[in-house]
Amino acid sequence: MRYVLKKLAVMLATLLVLSFLSFAAFEMIGDPVTTILGTNATPEAVAELRAELGLDRSLFVRYFEWLGRFVTGDFGTSYIYRLPVKGMLGEKLVNTLVLTLMGFALAVVISIPLGVVSARNEGRWLDRFLTVFNQIVMAIPSFFVAILLMVVFGLVLRLFTPGTFVSYKDSPGAFLIYMLFPAISIALPRVAMTEKMLRTSILEEMQKNYVRTAYARGMSRRTAMKAHALKNAMLPVITFLAVGAAEMLAGSIVIEQIFSVPGIGRLLMVSIGQRDVPVVEAIIMILAVWVMLVHFISEILSEAFDPRMRS
């Protein structure tokens, strides 16, 4: 319990530092006033808008005001659109999260059985085929997987029409089917990496003394793998999957642009361009919380798999 509290404290401290750094970064590169008024605005108009947006006060005052609101769940108002940031994020955040989670689920469901099969058949043709296939899949960037999927399933087989995104509010079924292709795009390179990782990890465990003892007790290779080695082999894979979950969120930001999925990726790009600090700040915080959360979960899971790590 104390361990968990300590972890949480570190997470909060990191979020604080990160939020201040990103706040300060925008202080250096300029505010949205020129974006809104254009370069020909009179100094009076600029000063007036600055005062209206509260930009005439010091960085620290603004930061702590923002922080005070943020911890109560108020994400502030967009400088450009004058809308609550929460409302602007709503559906977009759901889309990005669904995409990331679908990709993650696909990666886990495909890579773990394949890794076990590959390790079980070590050196045979199936294992060799998977190893070579893996190496090739790993070299295909997810945005090119996306393009290949669009050509094959969209243009040749006509299973879906690229660019016709359906909101989950209108039709949850059609939404999930549309999201399947971007989800495969972000999952595929990860599937290959995770499979390889698990295979190597299992084979390493199989060399250890406790597995030899299991053989001595009359266990078959298959049972020893299932009953003993697999559990230990999963440890590095869990950490790797956590990194994967974080990378997939980054990946979905790229992929959602290819498949025209309205997610937080494009909103982030547009908002940075417009210097819309409240929106950018909210998205960066969401991304950071996600990254920390998956690492946190992976540590808790690792401990569940290996009680020795509880210290």
Partner: protein, 271 residues
């Protein structure tokens, strides 16, 4: 065990051949291309691949193969400097923290850990978009800095491992300075581990550059790179010019595949 060995050299050989092949073609492309990459030819637009146009032509009649040869050069240029700067700084930091240890080691490694926790491509996208200064040197600096932690970690582990060995204590007894030990006694022995890390760095740098430019935050509009060409090609996917995207994307895959096989082979040879 013989079977295992043949597979190991197989990875290395194929990776080496592929990388040398790709790099040679790209280097040739800096001096000579079958067509002028910028030359437009209305009579020959949107052609499928043929012997006169190996990858076909684009919507303006420009030869895609010539453009890929040139554009891949930009990508490789960026990857080269990212790896050069990132690995030099990373190996140096790893050597210092690994060999000297102490509070500097703890602090620097904590910083490295928190940077690597965040997906580097996401960080690069955000930083490049905030800087808003497209161009290859911006991409090089941002990626090189983001690549430092991964090199530092590998280098640190090696320095920690090697410094405990007897020949290092001996060198120290003989009065060799820390700088001399780090550069002349440890570095050559850390090389077998650093080399695959450097190779995989190329793999990651090509991937990162392609992603950045694909999103439009990488190289500027006048510099053709593989990522930028792919995002351009993507617009013509639906209008029936799939060759463009497939050839550009295929080139990215072959480049990355070459480096990753090479890294894999180098890692396996070490064992």
């Amino acid at each position: 065990m013989a079977k295992q060995d043949s597979k190991q050299t197989w990875f290395f050989k194929v990776g080496l051949i592929l990388t040398v092949f790709m790099v040679t073609i790209i280097l040739i492309g800096q001096f000579w291309t079958p067509y002028d990459p910028a030359e437009q030819n209305v009579a020959a637009k949107s052609l499928s691949p043929s012997f006169s146009h190996l990858m076909g032509t684009d919507y303006l009649g420009r030869d895609i193969f010539s453009r890929v040869m040139e554009g891949a050069g930009t990508t490789l240029f960026i990857a080269f400097f990212v790896v050069l700067l990132g690995s030099a700084a990373g190996i140096f930091i790893g050597a210092l923290t690994g060999y000297l240890g102490g509070i500097v080691d703890t602090v620097l490694m904590k910083i490295c850990d928190s940077i690597t926790a965040f997906p580097s491509i996401l960080l690069a996208i955000i930083i490049l978009k905030v800087l808003d200064r497209p161009g290859k040197w911006t991409v090089i600096w941002v990626l090189a800095i983001l690549f430092i932690p991964s090199f530092a970690r590998v280098s640190r582990t090696e320095y920690v491992r090697i410094k405990k060995q007897n020949y290092i204590s001996l060198a120290r007894l003989e009065g060799a300075s820390p700088a001399r030990i780090m550069a002349l006694h440890i570095l050559p022995n850390a090389f077998p581990v650093l080399l695959p890390a450097i190779t995989i760095g190329f793999n990651n740098a090509v991937l990162a550059e392609a992603s950045m430019s694909f999103l439009g935050v990488g190289v500027s509009a006048t510099e053709a790179s593989l990522g930028r060409m792919l995002s351009d090609a993507q617009n013509y996917l639906v209008t029936g010019l799939p060759w463009y995207a497939l050839c550009v994307g295929g080139t990215i895959v072959l480049l990355i595949l070459g480096f990753s096989l090479l890294a894999e082979g180098l890692q396996q040879r070490r064992k």
